[in-house]
Each structure stands twice: as C-alpha cells, then as structure tokens.
C-alpha cells in the first residue's frame, strides 16, 4: 500500500454536517460541468428566494384591486401589466411563487415518502406483501387522476390543500413502482446479503440499506414530475378546483387569464411564462440530478 | 510462419488517448506494429489495453480525444477517414472481438440474423445468400447443428458458443486485423482453450494479424509471438519470451501469479513506488 498509516487519527462516526457538506460539494462540483443543469438549479434557487422575500420584492399588494386600472398592458408602472381587477400581475406572480413552492414542497413531502415506503416494502419483502401493495398501486394508478382530484375537491371543498391532497393521492404510484424496481435490484446486492449474515434486522436492512439506495432516483423522478404537478394544479384551477381567489396561484391566473387571451395577451402569458420557466428549470435540474445521482446514467 | 512481413497490417505511432477535457491520458505515446502475426497486449486493469484496441477501431465515446502520428491499417490512415468510410472498414478490414458474449451479442436478435448482417454489410450478399454465408461461417467455427443455432437467441446458447458466434460474425469478412479484447476471460476454464485455438486457427487461415488483449500474461505468452506490456497507459516493454522480462513491472506481474508447481508461502507483491520511480 502506498498510503502511510496514520496512527494518530482516531476513527469517529462522520458527523452529519460533514456528510451533508461533503455530498453538497460533490454535487455542486459535478453541476459545474453541466451549465444547463446549473441554470436549472439557479432558477429554482431564485424561485425560493423570491418566495421568501415576496413582500420586499413585489411592487404592489397582490390582492389590491384597482378596478379603474383593469387590463393595462405592461408598462413602467406595471411591468407585467394588470389583470381584470386591476391587480399588478408581477406582484401576483411574485407572491405566486410562494404557492408554487408550497405546493411543490408539500406534494414532494407527501408523495416521496409514501411512494418510497410502499415501493421499498413491496420490493424488499416480496411475495404476498408485494402482490398486495402493487395491486393497490395499480388500482390507484388506473384511477383517472383528474377525476379523483375533482371528487376530492368536491368532497373537501375546493382549495389549495384539497388540490395538494388530491394530486398527492394520485402521484405516489409511479414513485412506488420506481422505488420497488430499485429495491428489487438492491435487495439482491451482496451488501444486503452480508448484512443478513451479520444479523442486521429486516427493518434495519430496509431503512438503512435499501431505502437510501432508492432515494436518489425517487428525488430525480420527483423533480421531473414537478412540472407535471404544477400543470395538474393549473388544470384543477381551470376547472375552478385549485387555489381559491384571490390567491395568486399561477395556474388559476392562467386559467382566469385565458378569458382575455385574445385581447389582453399578457394576462395569461405572464403566468404561463412563469410556469414554463419553472417547469423547464425543474426538468433540466432533474435531468442533471439524474446524471449526477443515478449511476446508471453516469456510466455512459 | 511468423516472421517479419514487409508491410505491417497495423502500424501505430505515438498514440495518445485522453478522456474528458484535462484528465490524465489513458494511453500515451504508444507505438507498435502488427504484421500478419499474433501480438499480445498485457497489463493490469486500467492500464489502457482496451482503450488502445478501441482507439484503433475508432470506437471510443465522443468524450475521448485520440491523436497519433500514425494509425494505419493496411496503409489506410484511419484517423483521417470520415465516419462513413470508417464504417466500411470496421468489420471488413479490422474486427473486434469483445470480452463477454452475454453482453456483446444483441439479446433480441437471433444469432443467424446477427451474423447474416455482417455478410450483408461486407460481402454484399442479400437475403438467402447472406443466411447461407452465415451458416457456412458458423460451421467453420465448429458449431454443430448450425441451422438450429441460427434461429436461437443469444441467451439460449452457452458462453463458449456465444464467443464462437462472435468470432464467426467478426471474421466472416476475413479482416486483415483482428483485435480480441480478453476473448476468453468470461468463459469457463474448460472452454477457454478451445475458443483460443479456434481463433488462432482462423486467423492463420486468413493470414490476418491478431492483437490479443489480456491480463493473463501466461496465456498471452503461450499464444503470441510478441508481448507488449502496458502500465499506466504506456508500453513498458515488448517481449518475445516471458523469460526475457527485464522491467520490474513485468517481473512483478509474473511473480504475483500463484503457481502450484512452485508453491510459496507468500506471493511476491508489486512494488509500485519503485516502478513509478523508474518510470520518472
């Protein structure tokens, strides 16, 4: 061995912060090689900053109606114009990032763990458990998702929370399937066999060995799904079941703006551009993440 | 039969390959010639053997930078050819036999189709004629019941058969140079010899050159007239007999191999720092 053995160094469990900073540095340095992916992450970061600083950044109150100023084209006073109630579209877009971030985060936080858990349990335990869980997954998957969302909105009353629940309910099966496929591969890995040999309990194997291997692809998939989720939320808005007025939800803005598309293009186009950029950012970032986190793609 | 041919089939001079933008070169300053003979390349994993082979085929991924003073096959400067012209040469003038038939045969096409494709590409045969040529070739690699095997899928045949199919497919057009990248290391010990002998036989028959890449220095020495030893992307020495080895790396490699006929308590271990020192 060429490495000198350093005797004075004691072994300590690596601290959490060290681990996180370690992997962050790794990811960021890899990102440096992917300008497009980097751009995606930068946009998402900007989005988060805007969401946090919305009150400071927005030139107007997003809900103040000045009916006499309705439907003004973009100008120095209103960079993105005004909507049919004379509200400043830019301010609404800025506040809307909060809703978008909130939607996206909560859906990820619901869908990710649920999908991961179901998939990993099914994949790892196999047999009856697997069959049962996958059947359930299939059923949910085959349920027309918009209809389920509509039904939920009807049952719980329309609103952002309902929309989030409804979307989450239909969004976990693909994640579960993905996690299961991954778990099926991982559970046959030698390190899992070794863990069995030294007596690690099944639960420990499940959570410490298998789940972490599935997380990257789940994260990647979630990121890639985000665009779709924003759009589904917009479609619910189109049907009046998303965020309730006057919430400046982008999808709702687009869908109420569509009534003016032919004459006042900016009302629908501005939120459309916001959605487009965000979902492009999510997609591009997701792709980059995949290349970084997912060894199968990194290999080529 | 060996012996210095006037014109080498392959002539490589100062070949350099690097991956990525500013990575260390995977192959540097490699020069050698292959005539109508059998030349072996040995070296440990990562020493650049496969990269050299694929650079000759111009099959490295887009991220690789290849440069050479000369890279001629049968007088053809490969590096100046267009991708289209290169396509004509691959499989016709130079062939590549890869390590593991399980992965290097297309899993969803029948064996017959895959061989016939080579016939179609290089012998300008169509339809039934291509199939006949494929069958003939299969028989030449001593596969019994060629008819049946032609209709089978790669997963339905054994590793040894798979490697013969690979050989049949690649040697169908009687290429002037055959590059075999670890052709037997995925195979069972018992069939290794058969496959090697067959390859050797066909190459001699076609009067082609063979570049045999392997990490098994003993095997290479048994088959080849010349042995090129690579280490960290460079050629450290070229031998005709194992016994002539003078470089510490080569000697280390030989010593590290357990030999039941001469048992030792502990095996000799390569001293890399010394080799690196010597190289510098």
């Amino acid at each position: 061995m060429s490495d000198a053995i350093q005797t004075d160094l004691t072994v300590r469990p690596p601290s959490l912060s060290a681990r996180i900073s370690g992997s962050t540095i790794r990811i960021v340095s890899r990102l440096g090689q992917e300008p497009l992916g980097m751009a995606g992450f930068v946009i998402l970061a900007v989005l988060c900053v805007v969401a946090i600083l919305a009150p400071l950044l927005a030139p107007y109150d997003p809900n103040i109606q000045v009916l006499s100023d309705a439907l003004q084209p973009p100008s120095a006073a209103h960079w993105a114009g005004t909507d049919e109630f004379g509200r400043d579209i830019l301010s609404r877009l800025i506040y809307g990032t909060r809703i978008t971030v909130q939607t996206v985060l909560s859906i990820s936080l619901i869908v990710g763990p649920i999908g991961l858990l179901i998939g990993v349990v099914a994949g790892f335990f196999g047999g009856r458990t697997d069959a049962l869980l996958m059947r359930a997954t299939d059923i949910v998957l085959s349920f027309p998702s918009l209809i389920l969302a509509l039904a939920f909105a009807a049952a719980l009353g329309a609103g952002l929370t309902t929309a989030i629940i409804a979307i989450s309910l239909t969004a976990w099966p693909p994640i579960a399937r993905l996690a299961r496929a991954e778990a099926l591969v991982v559970r046959n890995a030698d390190y899992v066999a070794a863990a069995r040999l030294y007596g690690a309990s099944p639960l420990r194997i499940l959570f410490v060995y298998i789940a972490p291997m599935c997380i990257p692809s789940v994260i990647v998939r979630l990121t890639l799904n985000m665009a779709g989720i924003i759009l589904t939320a917009a479609s619910l808005g189109f049907l009046g079941l998303g965020a309730q007025p006057p919430a400046p939800e982008w999808g709702a803005m687009i869908s109420s703006g569509r009534k003016f598309m032919l004459d006042y293009w900016w009302v629908a186009v501005m939120p459309g551009v916001a959605i487009l950029i965000t979902s492009l950012a999510f997609n591009v970032a997701g792709d980059a993440l995949r290349d970084i986190l997912d060894p199968r793609h990194a290999r080529s | 039969m060996p012996g210095p041919d006037m014109k080498p089939v392959l002539s490589v001079e100062d070949l350099n390959v690097s991956f990525g933008r500013n990575a260390v070169p995977a192959v540097s300053h490699v020069s050698f010639d292959v005539g109508r003979e059998r030349v072996g390349i040995v070296g440990e994993s990562g020493s650049g053997k496969s990269t050299t082979g694929r650079a000759i085929m111009r099959l490295l991924s887009a991220g690789a930078t290849v440069s050479a003073k000369r890279l001629d096959v049968d007088g053809n400067p490969l590096l100046s050819l267009s991708e289209r012209q290169m396509g004509k040469i691959r499989g016709k003038d130079i062939a590549l036999i890869m390590q593991d038939p399980r992965y290097s045969l297309n899993p969803v096409l029948t064996v017959g189709k895959q061989i016939a494709e080579a016939a179609r590409l290089h012998l300008n045969l169509r339809g039934a004629a291509a199939t006949t040529a494929a069958k003939a070739m299969l028989e030449r690699v001593r596969i019994r019941d060629a008819e049946r095997v032609m209709a089978q899928y790669p997963h339905q045949i054994s590793g040894g058969m798979g490697q013969r199919v690979m050989i049949a497919m690649m040697l169908l057009a009687k290429p002037k140079l055959v590059i075999a990248d670890e052709p037997t290391s995925a195979l069972d010990v018992s069939v290794r010899k058969d496959v090697l002998t067959l390859l050797d036989e066909l190459v001699r028959e076609n009067d082609s050159g063979l570049l045999l890449i392997s990490h098994d220095i003993r095997m290479v020495s048994a088959f080849c007239e010349r042995i090129i030893v690579m280490y960290a992307g460079r050629i450290v020495e070229t031998l005709t007999r194992l016994e002539d080895a003078s470089h510490p790396y080569t000697k280390g490699l030989i010593a590290a191999m357990p030999d039941p006929r001469h048992p030792v308590r502990r095996l000799a271990v390569l001293d890399r720092s010394k080799i690196d020192l010597e190289r510098a």
Partner: protein, 246 residues
C-alpha cells in the same frame, strides 16, 4: 471438526423444471484447514457456500459449524460462527455507507460496545489507514475494497471464513496482496477457510485440500501434494487441470 456437512441437497424449483443443484454432498473441514472447491460455472460452488453461511434456506441435510448443528434460520450466535467474503468488491459494500459505517454495522447488529475502537483496529488489521473510515467505497480501489470486505467479515471474530471467489474480480498483482492478507489472517487467528474459485492456481496456492465439483457433485478430492504433482483421479479433474495450465 470445524465444519461438518452431511448429505446436503439443494433443489431450486423454478416453474415446471426442477433444478437439482447440489446433490448429496458430504464433507468436513478441520480447524485451521483451508478447503478449496473448484468447478465450472454453475456447478453449485456458491450454493454450497450460501448454505453454510445461512443465506440459502432451501437445503436439506445436516450442517454443523464449530460443533453446533445449525438449522435453516440462524440465531445471532450461529451467524457469529461463519462470515463470508464475496466475489465482487464493488457490490459487497454499500455505496452510500462510509467505510467506518460499513464496519460498524455488524458490531451494532450484534450489540457490541466500543464500536469505533474496534473499527479502527480492524482497519489496521487489513492494512488500511484508520482515516479510510471516512471514505466512501467509490473512493477506494478494488483491492482496498476487498480488504474492507475482509475486515468486515473478520470484525466479529468468526472462526470460519467463507470465501466466494474473493479475487476473481481483481488484477493478479492485487490478487497477490489479498491472498497474502488472507493467508496472514489465517495463520494469526487460526481461522478455518472454505475457498471457492474457478482458478485452480489460486486454489492450489491457498488450500490444503481441494474438492472438484461437477454438476452438483464432488467428483474428485486432491491434496496439496496431488496438485503439485499434477495428479488427478477423475477425467473431469484432469481436463480442468490441463485447461488451467496451458
């Protein structure tokens, strides 16, 4: 006897076709002895090892490790008798666990104390610097990984080590290092090895006794002496022998 196996049978039934992989195998290994098993791919070598380790549940027959008869599912104590080293050093370490964690895991599972000190000691034992505990597997070379795998197998101080082609994914030069390491550990700690490989040269180098396996059966048994002399008793063994030393 450290290992006693009697009438071991393993049958995989996949669909209609039954696959009798291991047929009526009996053998025993003495304390401190190294037994080699060779044979062509798919003849059942790994399956035998997997039965010994407890990874394979579908066997019948009798297995005794370190004098105690073990069943199909093992208690923690049973597991402590025998640990295994796998063929692929890339697959046998969890890619997202640091080396330290990988080594600490068996200790945690067995409820041991003083985990980190033990980890440090076992790293030294296989010739790796303690600082490696903070590395990830992908930051290690194949040989280094195999060292870690061996350290992990040895950290519970089992009397028996089952080795399934521990060097076939490694270069000759690295192989030599690992084989030396294994030999050193055996001598130091008085371990009992069962080594499976298809490389007769490796087997011959390491083992006191070699069993030659074909189609789930042992067809020949060779002593170290026999190997040196190139003496075999069976046609298949002869063939194998010749193929190895071309």
């Amino acid at each position: 006897m450290m290992i006693e196996v009697r009438d071991l049978n393993v049958t995989f039934s996949s669909g209609k076709r039954q696959n009798h992989v291991v047929r009526d195998i009996s053998f025993s290994v003495a304390r401190g002895e190294t037994l080699g098993i060779v044979g062509e791919s798919g003849c059942g070598k790994s399956t035998v090892l997997r039965c010994l380790s407890g990874m394979e549940k579908g066997w019948s027959g009798e297995i005794a490790l370190a004098g105690r008869t073990v069943g199909k599912s093992r208690s923690l104590d049973d597991l402590k008798c025998a640990q295994m080293v796998f063929q692929d050093p890339y697959g046998s370490l969890h890619p997202r666990h640091r080396i330290g964690t990988a080594l600490a895991e068996p200790l945690r599972a067995m409820g041991r104390q003083e985990i980190w000190r033990t980890v440090e000691r076992s790293l030294r034992q296989v010739g790796l610097p303690a600082a490696f505990a903070n590395r990830f597997p992908h930051e290690l070379s194949g040989g280094q990984r195999q060292r870690v795998a061996i350290a992990r197998a040895l950290i519970l101080a089992p009397p028996i080590l089952l080795l399934d082609e521990p060097t076939s994914a490694l270069d000759v030069s690295i192989q030599a290092e690992i084989l030396n390491l294994l030999a050193d550990q055996r001598d130091e700690m008085g371990l009992t090895y069962v080594l499976v490989s298809h490389d007769l040269a490796v087997i011959a180098h390491m083992c006191d006794r070699v069993l030659i396996m074909q189609d789930g059966r042992f067809v020949d048994e060779l002593s170290k002496r026999d190997l040196q002399d190139g003496k075999t008793h069976d046609d298949y063994a002869r063939e194998l022998f010749e193929a190895t030393f071309i």
